[in-house]
Symmetry: C2
Subunit: 692 residues, 2 copies
């Protein structure tokens, strides 16, 4: 790790990838300029967009304050009880995670009215504006993650030496993950409390359409799209990206003989894929075709560019192969491991699309079940979610088996990093969803023409599918990244115990009851974490319902259109409720890990079981929840297209119930599992020297 | 194992426990005589009871035929590819499992009208008739299990020697478990398809009350209570009991130095608890008080008697302690392990009661959430189910830790057997549920007076809670029993590999990717198993809905009360649909295990992971599903008592949706996981010598 020759590779490889990151950031700013050049529409549109922007900013500012308090406490704990580099790493990770969310949201609210305006001219234009809005977030998140990890590592290395520098990266990972749990939960609770609240009173009781300006919660609902789907998702993927990068570095240091190249490799994969993402973005901006196929084409293009460039890069870094866990692996072995990550991205996207798109059987089955009522709609949706776990988990198993065969634990890490390297283009698709959703809202609220609404509706439907699809990606990659972290936990524990001169005789065997108990405790976490999250949405939504009812009763003019509702009141109420309700579930994983570590009858072996248990059930629960949610949503849309009686039919009422149940499933509880399973693993690694 | 002195203990201990079993059977026949002596009510009541009886018999006969075909195929496979004792063991296990279900159902349909009739006289009388009906099943199931395992082991031992005899018990376990999966699924699909079908058209579309004789599906609905809740439950608990007994014997042989006493011990625990159950039954028949407290008192009484008698029995069998896994354990250690099992029974009952009884916060929270509509009712119910997993799993973890500390893997097995030894009294409570449910149905259909209905309604509510509570017990004990089987799998594998002269170097460590992949594959099984089960209910219910609609349209006189519906048609349709739909999910666990064993890249280590993965997620999914279901059911009842608007209010409509979603959750998919996780483990043990 300290060979002078190796040092050169380290320097130049990381430097090149950071240059790619800077290029990515440059493109992001270019795209911002392009977006700003397009017209934000008429007075009314600007007004609505402004209200949404203001609400989102107000929420995020308060969220930042709330989270900052917690972050400072943890920073101080790390600073005094752990070490300074880790503490500063934590601070940086937390800051960047917040920044990623903030930027994602800002861009989205800049883009929304511009998409609506573009839709008045041409659909392709609207598609491009919306996609470019997402692409800014994608490029910024990826660039930020590469730069943060790379530069922090560089400085830490010079100041405290390479070993300590690698260890302190875990602090950065914790900062990113923990903040991301809060962002996901806070944003998720906000968006769904506003959505459910708006729907329950507005749609069901008062019979208003979606986004009707007479609904007092409608601005809050649109704010929610931004703070949940944009800011939450951006923080989440930033975190998974940073954690995968750090996890791969850690596994490289712990298990690969030629550590410097193993450290550089994940940076290089990430850097190359920034170029791939830029190619994908160009493809959308200069290609043509149906929205869904253009977007999927962009993903394919990115993957192709990455797959081609990974080959020479891998051979350059590992010209003579490398010894991993006592066995020599060829550069081709490592290349194959990276390919598995790229292929997994495609596989997960295709599978999630099958289970959540209205063009296939699962969603249509739910739509048909809606004919016999609310209950059968729910049963069908729950069943679809559970069915949807089979293929992704099966492919994850195959990916683990293959990449491990190619290059041991490091091979798995490389596959994960390659999968995550696609985040730039994948976030572009994901952020596309809430932007088009908002654009549609603005079109309705501004009373724009039918053709404009049709255009935004079409984009919104595509956006819905993209949102569902990228959730599958986020979860699968989170599960794999967490597995890499678990591997790091065991290696760290071994290093820690043997560094104290003791023999390492911990057994993580399934025949050891402590491991089984750990699996149970860990397996429990996703179940109660999501239960608390759903409760939180319920409570926050209840507050919205009461406020909307109050306004409609106190001001009958609102429903007649003669009075303007107090949108700000609703925004304010959801903001407070979301921030209050996110605390308990967000601190749950921390509490679990520390308790298991502290109780002497449990200890490091049980904790190992906890980590794996959380990953196993977490993966299933998250996939089931997000798939059910996506499928319910599109089943409703399928009925609204005129099937099974169309809008207003009993089947539609049942489908609305399913959609509402699906809201906290797919946008709060399910996706919040991603950062949660990583927090559990990172905290476990971090506390090894404190408690064991 | 072949010491002559030890042989004596073996003989006399087993003999004594079999005498207890025979005493239990004697009491069961006495109770049948008592039940038969009481009046079956007036003509109309006898008629309805007869129709239910006929439908149930017709279904069970067809189910027996369907399952027999599958059983014969497996018997032949075992006979030709495995060995004869195992094959015959399978046949005996399958036969007894079917018999247990059959008897349970027969007694229940004998008792139902008699409970209604008793309710016209005195509530205490009705309570006793219903409880005695359940007690017959309880005693028969336990006695049958003890006798079947004891006598088969005795004969097999004399014919093929002790080693082979123990191995062939696995065949018996497979027979019991596999048939029980079919019975649980078939019965569960039947009961819920009929229930959901009857409710969807009858209650929601035609506005009929529960059990209204004008609903063509009402007899099918009442038949369902018997074939699902009685026959299915009886087969299920028979299976768990037999498997726990066999698992404890197996672990005793594989890990305990003084094997004969270790083999006798589980029989003795079982035998003693038959006496405990009889004391509990006496308590109900001669004690007084509120229904719920009398029944809970009976459980307490049984546990107390068992706890007292376990002490001398344990010291008698292990006067000088025993060496387990190389460490000497005192008789008191073993006694404590058995106590843990008894305590776990109480703990699980109390916890499940908290989450599913309308007297506590969780159910009331769901009821309150119903006010804001269908969707919030569903979200609240799903969240309650997930919350409900925490405490049982926590206590299971503590029980594993303690009993393992007392006596290694054998200690866990002893705790499980002690827990299962309570099955006699627990089934009495459980079968009480469908009997009172039917009694209420008969009261409504026979137009009996208000006071009678009030009496049967009160018993029905108690029965609902008992049903929910015993489900928690069934699942917790099934999970623990499956863990013992997993321990046996590893020991068997070790014995098999070393007997071939090869070193045993399989690692079941979490650091081994194959184990992780196994955990994923195994973890998947409960998710898709329950998904298929729910689909099956949906399809079968759809058939009922179409038939009920057809009858109501073709014969308008039915709703006016001038025409009698064709009840038999509905019964027939559900019968066929249930038997058709149960096949795929029931064969799923078999297919999983065999595929993993056959694929060379997977093999024994992955299979080990599969076994544990299925147990871990299975436990969570089963507890969540049954708790949600029970809570939804009672939330509806809570509203029907006049809260949140009472019957007919929007909150009630929402609560009915929750109850309907809960039906397949709590009565089909959830409970079918119990035998499923054991089938997986047993098949794995069985195929070791074939594939590895």
């Amino acid at each position: 790790m300290t060979l002078p020759l190796a040092f050169d590779i380290l320097q130049s490889g990381v430097r090149l990838s950071l240059i790619c990151a800077v290029i990515g950031l440059g493109c992001a700013f270019l795209l911002i300029a392009v977006i700003l050049r397009s017209s934000p529409g008429n007075e009314r549109m600007r007004q609505i967009s402004g209200a949404v922007q203001e609400g989102a900013k107000a929420y995020l500012n308060r969220q930042v304050m709330t989270i900052s308090v917690i972050a400072v406490v943890i920073f101080l704990l790390l600073f005094f009880f752990k070490d300074h580099p880790t503490a500063f790493g934590f601070l940086l990770g937390a800051f960047c995670s917040l920044a990623a969310g903030y930027i994602g949201m800002r861009i989205a609210v800049l883009a929304n009215a511009r998409v609506t305006q573009a839709a008045t001219q041409a659909r392709t234009r609207a598609l491009r504006v919306a996609f470019n809005g997402g692409a800014v977030t994608g490029l910024l998140v990826v660039g930020l993650a590469l730069l943060a990890v790379g530069i922090f590592y560089h400085f830490a290395r010079n100041m405290v030496g390479p070993d300590m520098a690698v260890r302190s990266l875990i602090g950065l990972a914790l900062g990113a993950s923990l903040i991301s749990v809060f962002a996901r939960l806070g944003g998720g609770i906000y968006t769904k409390a506003a959505d459910v609240g708006a729907d329950l009173v507005g749609k069901i009781e008062a019979g208003l359409e979606e986004d009707d300006p007479r609904n007092p919660a409608t601005i809050a609902d649109n704010v929610g799209d931004n703070v949940g789907d944009c800011a939450g998702m951006a923080a989440d993927v930033f975190e998974t990206y940073a954690v995968s990068l750090i996890g791969t570095i850690l596994v490289g240091v712990l298990t690969v003989a030629n550590a410097p190249a193993a450290i550089v490799y994940p940076f290089v994969l990430g850097g190359i894929s920034v170029l791939g993402a830029i190619c994908g973005i160009l493809f959308v901006n200069f290609g043509g075709g149906k929205p869904a196929s253009v977007l999927m084409g962009a993903v394919g293009m990115s993957a192709l560019v990455s797959a081609i460039l990974f080959w020479p890069a891998t051979h350059q870094l590992f010209p003579n192969g490398v010894e991993i866990a006592g066995k020599l692996r060829s550069p081709t072995d490592l290349y194959y491991a990276s390919l598995i990550g790229l292929i997994m991205t495609g596989v997960v996207v295709v599978i999630t699309n099958y289970y959540t798109s209205m063009r296939y059987r699962p969603v249509q089955k739910i739509a048909r079940a809606s004919e016999t009522g609310h209950a059968t709609n729910i049963i069908a949706g729950l069943a679809v979610g559970q069915h949807a776990t089979a293929l992704p988990v099966g492919f994850i198993g195959i990916a683990i088996l293959l990449s491990y065969n190619f290059a041991g634990l490091y091979g798995i890490a490389v596959a994960v990093m390659a999968m995550l390297s696609m985040a730039g283009i994948i976030i572009s698709l994901d952020a596309f969803g809430p932007i088009t959703d908002n654009a549609g809202g603005i079109a309705v609220m501004s009373n724009l023409g039918k053709e404009v609404r049709a255009a935004t509706d079409e984009l919104d439907a595509v956006g819905n599918t993209m949102k569902a699809v990228t959730k599958g990606y986020a979860i699968a990659s989170a599960g794999l990244a967490a597995l890499v972290l678990f591997g790091s936990y065991v290696e760290e524990l071994k290093a820690h115990i043997t560094s104290n001169g003791q023999p390492f005789n911990f057994q993580f065997s399934l025949t050891e009851p402590k491991v089984i108990i750990g699996l149970f405790i860990g397996g429990l976490l996703p179940f109660i974490f999501t239960a608390f999250s759903m409760d939180a949405v319920g409570k926050a939504a209840g507050a919205v319902v009461r406020e909307v009812r109050r306004q409609l009763q106190a001001h009958p003019g609102i429903l007649q259109g003669t009075e303007t509702p107090e949108y700000g009141k609703c925004v304010d109420i959801v903001t407070k409720a979301a921030l209050r309700e996110m605390i308990v579930p967000a601190l749950l994983p921390l509490a679990f890990v520390i308790l298991v570590a502290v109780i002497p009858q449990l200890g490091p072996v049980v904790l190992g079981g906890v980590l794996v248990g959380t990953i196993v059930t977490g993966l299933f629960v998250a996939i089931a929840m997000t798939s059910s949610g996506g499928a319910w949503d599109n089943a409703k849309k399928f009925i609204e297209e005129g099937n099974y009686g169309g809008k207003g039919s009993p089947a539609h009422a049942a489908a609305v119930t399913g959609d509402t149940v699906g809201d906290p499933y797919k946008d709060t509880a399910g996706p919040a599992i991603n950062p949660m399973i990583k927090v559990v693993n990172i905290v476990a690694i971090l506390i090894i020297p404190i408690f064991f």
